[in-house]
């Protein structure tokens, strides 16, 4: 999830910050005609704005308002929230119902800190609360029909923030650099001499090792894996990617990295591949995106076409 950074480069500046519970960085090639610090500050402010607006943990966030009204009245949403909900709909459709932004409620029974497999009864109780098609949306209003239902944009919030922060940098006239929010990366453009930025993909079983280095000149890169948040019980690994239908953690891929024109698309393709388990490889090939996936035995699969460079 946290690709190691390429060796430091004297021609660029790196601004490190913490957001969305992740270590983050903005790397920009030096450009005397642009105030890099100011541009980076604006990009960070945009990340913070999205975090504040869509955090599940703040009662004043849009998401908390929608969730608090579950089982009750429809909630009006602004255009940005509405477009995120429309995007969630598109993802649900292109993933055969696997990418479901109402599945976050499963975390109420899966406690990764306590490292305990929930009881069958607990899983049974929470499963009816998952179901994106039940969510009523029309005319910029959204309503969760059952009390206890929840939605969250955690599935693509960080990637969306990386894309938006990238757009802020571009608006400030920057063309060379990237935004990395805890491994969700948006490259705004290559180094000034045209060389790509290089991102290391961590070995999912050895944090000190890389399985690959991915060069990227533009677009997004995101990784989903079973090694970020997980626990083991009775010799079995339970990771944080939960299947919306079974309410159980997915089991197949150790990690999936995807390159796409936007970080949001890269992140969704990686997550959907994780959710598709054995069928994930077929899905990744169909997307036409560049990818790198590590299967349960540590074997690495990549797109046959070189990633879009």
């Amino acid at each position: 999830m946290h690709p190691a950074q390429a060796p430091r480069d004297p021609d660029s500046v790196r601004i490190v910050f913490q957001a969305m519970a992740s270590p983050c960085e903005i790397v920009l090639s030096k450009d005397p005609s642009v105030d890099l610090q100011s541009a980076a500050r604006q990009a960070i402010a945009e990340v913070q704005r999205i975090e504040t607006r869509y955090s599940r943990y703040r009662s004043d966030s849009v998401v908390a308002r929608i969730n608090a009204a579950a089982g009750g009245a429809a909630v009006h949403c602004d255009d940005e929230t509405w477009s995120l909900l429309e995007f969630a709909q598109a993802l649900y459709q292109s993933s055969d119902g696997l990418f479901d932004i109402s599945s976050g409620v499963l975390r109420t029974v899966w406690d990764f800190k306590a490292a305990q497999v929930p009881s069958a009864a607990a899983l049974q109780a929470v499963r009816p609360l998952v179901g994106w098609p039940l969510v009523e949306r029309h005319n910029n209003t959204v309503r969760l029909p059952q009390a206890g239902m929840q939605i969250d944009f955690g599935g693509f919030g960080k990637e969306y923030a990386a894309d938006r922060a990238g757009a802020v940098l571009e608006k400030n006239g920057l063309r060379h650099g990237y935004v990395n929010l805890g491994g969700d990366i948006r490259v705004i453009g290559p180094r000034p001499d045209g060389r790509p930025w290089t991102f290391g993909i961590q070995d999912p079983r050895d944090p000190a090792k890389l399985v690959a280095s991915i060069p990227l000149r533009s677009g997004g890169l995101a990784t989903s894996g079973d090694y970020v948040r997980y626990f083991e019980a009775d010799g079995k690994r339970y990771c944080h990617v939960l299947h919306p239908h079974t309410a159980m953690p997915v089991t197949y891929w150790r990690s999936v990295s995807v390159m796409a024109p936007f970080a949001v698309v890269a992140g969704n393709c990686a997550t959907i591949a994780m959710l598709k388990e054995e069928n994930g490889l077929e899905f990744l090939k169909k997307t036409g995106m560049g990818f790198l996936a590590v299967n349960p035995t540590g074997e690495v699969f990549t797109s046959t076409q070189p990633p879009m460079q």
């Binding site: 598109a90 009390a147 969306y160 894309d163």
Partner: protein
């Protein structure tokens, strides 16, 4: 943005079946506001109209005093991408009786107040500027004023500065013809800062200064002659804290007030907003208030009863108005709000207030005054578009 969403959906439905699956997702992502970085200052994204009905009854032991009913309409609407207009209209019907001195000699009264205000706000990337005006009219009192306000936020939006200016001009023509064509002119400025401290904490500090010249006496009271100038300073500190465990928010505030009549007042307010399932919100509220007496307040003197105590010989200013005495007050209230479908919200508010000399912080309340109790209820309904 809405139109863009629709057109992108069209396009994604029109993809040839042989096209890579990822293309559909890219097109869906294009409908996200990834490139469009519109102004970040939150211009209202919807219009809202509201109706509130306020009822109010105050009483002292054995006697009801003033009763007020006040229906109010409000409207707020965005105009274009950068402007909004907000306005309120209220009609207060006041009836009952008001004491002529201290808590004695309740004198019947009836009045009606009509008030209207309007404000225009322009939204910028770093802040807002608003300009407003108001007008209110009673049979014996007309008030008009203009307000100018501005906010400025830092790039990270964690700090917002605000400043306000308020000028008013009032005309007073008491129905008992004790005086005529009196005026009161007030200038008020305020400066404040709102700071986001953590993800869960927001603090706000506001300092205000007001300077007023004109007729401050109460023409309906016996022995009431107040200075022709009143200046006051206020300082307000507020802290809102989000509690993860309950999903609720606590709001605590302290207000300091000092004026040139030598009234020093403290207000402590605590409320807690608890969102509940099905669109309900419950907000219990508590307030403690304490003030010292005005320098020229004349205490009730039982030796004079049943007549009002005479002001001290040679006194230039004097008043026997209970509102200028030393007292404290406690109030508890609750607000219940429920969101209904289609942008409708209804709320119900109830507040019970008791004012007593003994409630003054540190003792020393003005003696021999009857306590005052007040019950306020409000029903509101609003709709967003």
């Amino acid at each position: 943005m809405k139109q863009k969403t629709k057109s992108a959906r069209h396009r994604s439905q029109g993809i040839a079946p042989s096209a890579p699956l990822g293309l559909g997702m890219v097109l869906a992502a294009l409908a996200l506001p990834l490139g469009n970085l519109a102004q970040a200052q939150a211009q209202p994204e919807y219009a809202q109209i509201g109706f509130k009905y306020l009822g109010y009854q105050d009483s002292q032991p054995g006697q009801e005093r003033i009763k007020v009913t006040a229906p109010a309409f409000s409207l707020m609407t965005p105009v274009g991408r950068q402007w909004s207009v907000a306005g309120n209209v209220v009609v207060d019907s006041i009836s009952g009786a008001s004491p002529a001195y201290h808590t004695q000699a309740l004198t019947p009264m009836v009045d009606e107040r009509r008030a209207i205000d309007i404000a225009l706000t322009r939204y910028f990337e770093e802040g807002t500027i608003s300009l407003g005006g108001y007008f209110s009219q009673e049979a014996d009192y007309v008030s008009r004023g203009i307000t100018l306000g501005g906010t400025y936020s830092t790039e990270d939006k964690n700090t917002t500065w605000n400043a306000g200016l308020n000028l008013s001009h009032d005309s007073i023509n008491p129905s008992n013809r004790i005086t005529a064509d009196e005026t009161k002119d007030t200038q008020e400025i305020s400066l404040g800062v709102t700071q986001v401290l953590t993800q869960r904490d927001i603090m706000q500090a506001i300092a205000g200064f007001s300077h007023g010249v004109g007729y401050y006496s109460d023409p309906y009271k016996i022995f009431d002659k107040r200075p022709g100038q009143r200046d006051h300073s206020t300082f307000l500190l507020r802290w809102n804290h989000h509690i993860d465990a309950t999903g609720g928010t606590s709001r605590l505030s302290y207000r300091y007030y000092k004026d040139s009549f030598d009234i020093l007042a403290h207000t402590l307010t605590a409320e807690y907003v608890q969102p509940l399932p099905d669109g309900w919100t419950l907000t219990p509220q508590m307030r403690l208030y304490s003030q010292s007496a005005a320098r020229f307040y004349v205490d009730f003197n039982p030796d004079w009863a049943p007549f009002p105590a005479n002001p001290p010989p040679g006194a230039q200013h004097y008043s026997e108005d209970q509102r200028l005495s030393a007292y404290g007050a406690r109030s508890v209230g609750i607000k219940v709000a429920k969101q209904l479908g289609e942008g409708w919200q209804v709320d119900l508010k109830y507040d019970s207030y008791t004012q007593k000399a003994e409630y003054k912080f540190g003792g020393g309340g003005s003696p021999y005054l009857d306590p005052l109790t007040m019950v306020t209820y409000q029903v509101g309904v609003s709709k967003r578009f």
